[in-house]
């Protein structure tokens, strides 16, 4: 468990966020700005967008949510207890591309005010105690390296130890290539944890958000007892460009979007953000009652 109270933690995180220079992040721009919806191109008043849970009031396009916003959305006020908040990635390969991995980690921590691309913890969802993992896409594209793998695994183990359901909200570009083979091994690690969870009969619920691809999809993101997706989220194994290069043709419209996956039998339901907590709580009630 985190060493500070949840209340302190939240205000600390929020303060950190406000202090950042974050002009590139839609969600942190001043309230009086206008934002153009990436889908319907409508100019939206930033405050209005925020109040609408970052969903375009005109066309329903779901903008990204940060992990903290997501936790705020899903978890009953003040009930979230973070687990392993200090766990961090480390540059064990001495890997560098345009900049060293060590520097990338540092930058990501500064930018997101989080130590890794997933926040894990325990909290109440309409009074049901749940293990929760929420990915942060702004942290190196939500990529899964040793840190994410370890934290996800601990989240599942927390579920098993406390006999409570597990919920994960995904947002990830896949494996963290800067950790080489070790990032691949995380797929095995998290899936093994889910194999153990499954044997207990405890439920594991996945909420897929835009985007979820690569090794994350091919491991814990596709293993939910129930798979929920936000509308129009990109969800796939290979990236669209790789596929286009392979098949040498344009991809169909809506390819790899939530609606496409629903049609192809890969997810249970698509749920708008405003209904997400209610739906999750009904699902959890089905399992725990």
């Amino acid at each position: 468990m985190g060493k500070i109270s949840i209340h302190e933690w939240f205000s600390k995180k929020q303060k950190e966020k406000q202090q950042q220079n974050s002009s590139s992040e839609k969600l942190n721009i001043p309230d009086n700005l206008w934002i153009k919806c990436v889908s319907c191109k409508t100019a939206l008043y930033a405050k209005e967008l925020k109040e609408n849970l970052n969903v375009c009031p005109k066309c329903g396009y779901h903008f990204k949510l940060s992990a903290l916003e997501r936790i705020n959305l899903l978890i009953d006020g003040g009930s979230f207890k973070e687990l392993s908040p200090t766990l961090k990635a480390t540059d064990f390969l001495g890997f560098f591309d345009s900049k060293p991995y060590a520097k990338r980690i540092e930058d990501a921590i500064l930018k997101s005010s989080l130590n890794e691309a997933i926040v894990i913890g325990e909290g109440l969802i309409e009074n049901i105690k749940t293990s929760l993992g929420v990915m942060e896409f702004s942290f190196m594209g939500g990529s899964m390296g040793s840190g994410v793998g370890e934290k996800f695994t601990r989240m599942i183990e927390h579920s098993i130890e406390n006999k409570i359901p597990a919920v994960v909200v995904t947002a990830s570009g896949g494996a963290r290539m800067q950790e080489g083979i070790m990032s691949l091994m995380q797929m095995a690690k998290v899936s093994a944890a889910l194999g153990r969870l499954r044997e207990t009969g405890l439920p594991y619920i996945v909420v897929l958000t835009d985007p979820t691809t690569g090794g994350t999809t091919a491991s814990f993101a596709m293993l939910g007892d129930i798979q929920i997706a936000e509308p129009e989220a990109l969800i796939g194994f290979a990236g669209p460009r790789v596929i286009e290069q392979t098949i040498r043709q344009k991809l169909p419209k809506k390819f790899q979007r939530s609606e496409f996956l629903l049609e192809h039998g890969m997810i249970d339901l698509i749920c708008e953000r405003k209904n997400l907590k209610g739906t999750l709580s009904k699902i959890l009630k089905f399992f725990v009652e």
Partner: protein
Amino acid sequence: MKQNFDEIKNLLPFESHLKDLFKKIEELKKLSEKEEVNLEEEIRMVRKRIDAMRQDIFSKLTPLQVVQVARFIMRPTTLDYISLIFEDFIELHGDRNFSDDAAIVAGIAKLDGRSVVVIGHQKGHTTKELIARNFGMANPEGYRKALRIMRMAVRANKPIISLIDTSGAYPGLGAEERGQAEAIAKNLREMAVFTVPFISIITGEGGSGGALGIAMGNRVLMMEYSIYSVISPEGCASILFRDATRAPEAAKASKITAKDLLEFRVIDEIIKEPVGGAHNNYKEAAANVKAAILKHLNEISNFSSRELVADRYNKYRNMGIFVE
């Protein structure tokens, strides 16, 4: 099986300077025939020289050169190994859902009289075979077939041997439609809790999730010149370095050789290859693989079902390097 192996034609790029020595052997052979003289000793000497040079070359391969060996079209395939290692192999087909994926082969066999299930990616030695096998890149059906047959092994309480040789799961339209990610993910979860001994061997390319999808053994072994990586050096270079030509650098940085992976304890043992790589001597390569399988199988065969699951769980549970 290796057939009509042309040693000159099949030299790897980095050993092309051996060409002259091979030509020398050919000349000696011709001369010997023509003049009816015995030049065997001379030939043996040249061979010895070739072997020595090769040993030297192969001891200093760059990671990208290892990649070339691992991908070489004459490298023994899963079916080559199966025919040389196992007896009474019967190939089993189909995922019982949609199709039979030729990029993964699976079946039952005997290994020194012991019943085992063996599965593996299948490439090929000719363009025709490679196309028929989709270059060893499986669709979801391949992973589902593998799972179906591995589960049968679990019910029948027989060990599983998997041979890994793929550049990756196929990134096609249909593969996405039919749940490539779901198929691989499910395999990972299920393999973790198999109650039978399970040994995986990277024989050629261990390409990302497509490799891991059948590779969650209690023991994971790698052939000396095989590779195992989260992304191909070319892919890594083009994504991270934004320059595909920087593959050599990416190969080096990513740590994809058997030696590197043994250091990280991602694998348990390196299987020696014949001089110049497995493609120069299928029999010797297969014998080495067989010996390694038997050694590790014997070590874990006394484990109870529970111990096997715990052993495998702990193996993967402990993978990862982070600070806290």
